[in-house]
Symmetry: C2
Subunit: 478 residues, 2 copies
């Protein structure tokens, strides 16, 4: 073991091969608090060549390697266990934005670039990299790619996978695969890029990427909309997509009791409607057209008028019950703050458990109805709050087993609830992990619920690319 | 051999197991005329279960299988060789559109659905499946997916890969893998779907798919635009994307001599400009907003006015030299007819060779300049015509070696020209096969030019999923 640490030190330098306990705490504990362990060492390469040398050494010595970005994952994918036998390979020093190209609308980055830093670099030239979620200030591009991260803008721009044209990957034996394509069309062989994206470091280490950039919107129009039901919400989504030419940037479901809980946390939060509706959505559309973003002679911003007119028409036809359109940037910010307080709302009141599932768009209603009918069988006193990226069919179904005694929950009951949620999801051809991935947290579900033939194909690919099973072993594949 | 044919007949019925020479002609010859062969038999399954049984038999007997859709591929991917030892597995009877779902904007189809039939079914409910190219009347969805087909609308909707949410695949040993997801977010394991898409049938047979549908545009605005140079053309593209919110549906490069040749084929074709420019583009934007599609009180259609105003501004700043906007559907149709005559223009005059390459958007100019400088070294009298899906950086660089003697071309010279084109493409980090795939036609380029490490990964995956090498052997992988 000490020999391996010495050899790693020679590759990256002593200060970048951490094996003292206190230094490693930051890497050996995860943000959910579920995983606390002990790695053999934390190694911080400065270049792809360093990564290659580290993996060659790991391969030679059959030492397991756990790649790590910003350590913000929610499924334990970056956890190195408690046995002190695995290397954490932190990409944090490979944090260079190599280029931002306005003519081709592309960025070339190293894997350790913090997402928010790429946001800033793109915005500096009036472009955006549209992947956005809470952890943006510390998560890294390599981790975003390895977990195919989602977030609020997927309805418009797709998952991380859809934002990537090219990759650089180092394989288990240290071989570097150059897939750093800047091409929009390239049919020369298997789509290896998408195989490594979302593989959670089990097939190789992503060290660099070519990412798509987009015109920065010149204005947003944002509203809280109360709707008759989920089917009406989807009609609102489709209508807004049609009138805006697919410019719906976010479409977030927020049910009545979410607002009620929000008020418990923050009594001063303004409510969007006089009378809260059972079903509401936070909707945002955007424009990159300067004229549509600028108030005309009538004082109205065309984009806002478009949103307003569409909602008025839907109000008349009964799908929309009420709506509040943000009249200023501060009102817009407040709407988003209320949405982004989801984590705070949950933790403040000690949510018993939360899930990350998805169903087909036309099955969201069925999912919610069936859960309402069946949750009492496993949690008679449960209070449920669902936050959902409704535009993608992605639901975070969360609950308090006993709202009178928040925080009290027994593991057997927790398991029963997870199983029920996953049973309903499976019946509706949904996914038991929509955006957070498998890691360690969902490995049991993977064993029980993934299509057996698909799982067998995954195992064959894993064996073919990582024959010694040193790449993030024990993760993703049961 | 006869035993295999008998067993195949028992699976699909005698009338669907063809082994008479005349019956097979349709399957054993390809549309380019380059490949004429002889298969052991042509088998036409009616269901996924049939496909599974056929492959189980093939696996047991180590018989090679060549999956075939509409037989419109341009790279010989569906060719079963001349040895009479391979089965052609035609998906044509699996031609059912299982469902078209407006609420979730999805279609479920069998692999043998003809693309144009899916177009019609989607349009019947006011939606579109936006994959469009010349062979749409006979090509099939399974083939489109297996080759990750491109076409003119990629700039807006992406390649076939981007249009697919779910797949059903039968593996080499007959195992059925159900990846028929209708989910927009699903992070449960490796992205197997994208591995089979574009694999040209070398990893399994695609038997079904879940495909995305989109709102049908309510109006198009189309123009021929003469620009100062390629950099100006890209500025036109970016400006139009910004003002339209990414609604550029097509952006096709058409150089001066293309129009000159077009007139040789069709003297009555109206020219878009009084004075032909070196560089022109056919551009089309679309809207799904009824109001933008309808003439206002001033008699102007807002979408057309948007295109016009944008082009006028670019005319004033010098990037645009001249422009003709289609004032009627018939003028629009004529513009597209002129673009789609590319194949006729080339064949009428006996083009010596054509290519299908791509380069990064900001390298198109460099590619054209370097080719102009160097083509004389291998073809001193050459006349070049380039048609390009410029919005994707995809160029079909075609030439007559000797315009005085069209059709005269010697194989060694042809090879020298291909090599030169590919050398220049490689230098610019481009692709030697942008949308047509590898098949047999590009297998040599694959061996010479594909990243060696990527090729090795491909081979490992191929061996893992098709250990007996019976799935379309000899294709794609050199």
């Amino acid at each position: 073991m000490q020999d391996i640490i010495n050899r790693l030190s020679r590759i990256v330098g002593h200060t970048n091969c951490l094996s003292g306990d206190d230094l490693r705490e930051k890497y050996d504990h995860d943000i959910t608090g579920s995983y606390k362990g002990r790695s053999l060492a934390v190694v911080r390469p400065a270049s792809t060549e360093d990564v290659s040398k580290i993996l060659a050494l790991a391969f030679e010595t059959s030492t397991a390697v756990v790649p790590l970005g910003g350590n913000t994952g929610l499924a334990g994918g970056g956890f190195a266990g408690a046995d002190g036998d695995k290397i954490i390979l932190s990409l944090e020093r490979m944090n260079k934005i190599t280029s931002i190209n306005r003519q081709s609308r592309l960025a070339r980055v190293e894997a350790g670039v913090v997402l928010a830093n790429l946001h800033a670099a793109a915005e500096a030239v009036d472009l955006v990299f549209p992947l956005v979620f809470g952890a943006r200030g510390s998560c890294m591009i390599g981790g975003n790619l390895s977990t195919n991260a989602g977030g609020s803008n997927v309805v418009r721009y797709g998952n991380t996978r859809a934002l990537c044209l090219g990759l650089e990957v180092v394989l288990a034996d240290g071989e570097i695969v150059n897939l750093m394509s800047e091409l929009h069309k390239d049919n020369t062989g298997y789509d290896l890029k998408d195989l490594f994206i979302g593989a959670e470091g089990t097939l190789g280490v992503i060290t660099g990427a070519v990412l798509k950039l987009f015109d920065k919107p010149k204005a947003y129009a944002t509203a809280m909309v109360a709707v008759a039901d989920i089917a009406s919400a989807l009609e609102v989504l489709h209508r807004l997509q049609a009138v805006s030419g697919g410019a719906v940037e976010a479409f977030e479901y927020m049910p009545r009791n979410y607002f009620r809980h929000l008020q418990m946390v923050d009594a001063s939060a303004p409510m969007p409607f006089d009378k809260l509706a059972d079903t509401a959505v936070l909707v945002e559309i955007a424009t990159t057209n300067a004229q549509h973003a600028t108030a005309g002679p009538d004082g109205k911003v065309p984009l806002v008028a478009l949103l307003e007119n569409t909602l008025v028409a839907l109000l008349e036809s009964g799908q929309v019950l009420d709506a509040t359109i943000a009249q200023s940037e501060s009102q817009r910010t407040e709407m988003w703050r209320q949405r982004e307080m989801a984590f705070e709302v949950a933790t403040h009141l000690g949510v018993s458990l939360t899930t990350d599932v998805s169903v087909p768009l036309d099955k969201v209603d069925a999912f919610l109805n069936e859960m309402t009918a069946r949750i009492g069988s496993v949690a008679p006193k449960a209070e449920v709050v669902v936050i959902s990226h409704l535009g993608d069919g992605n639901l975070h179904y969360s609950l308090w087993v006993d709202p009178e005694n928040p925080g009290q929950v027994d593991e057997a009951q927790k398991t029963a609830i997870y199983n029920l949620v996953e049973d309903v999801v499976e019946k509706l051809s949904g996914s038991f992990s929509a955006e957070h991935g498998i890691g360690l947290a969902k490995i049991g579900s993977m064993a029980r619920r993934k299509d057996k033939a698909a799982l067998a194909v995954m195992r064959r690919i894993k064996r073919a690319l990582d024959p010694k099973n040193i790449m993030n072993p024990g993760k993703m594949l049961p």
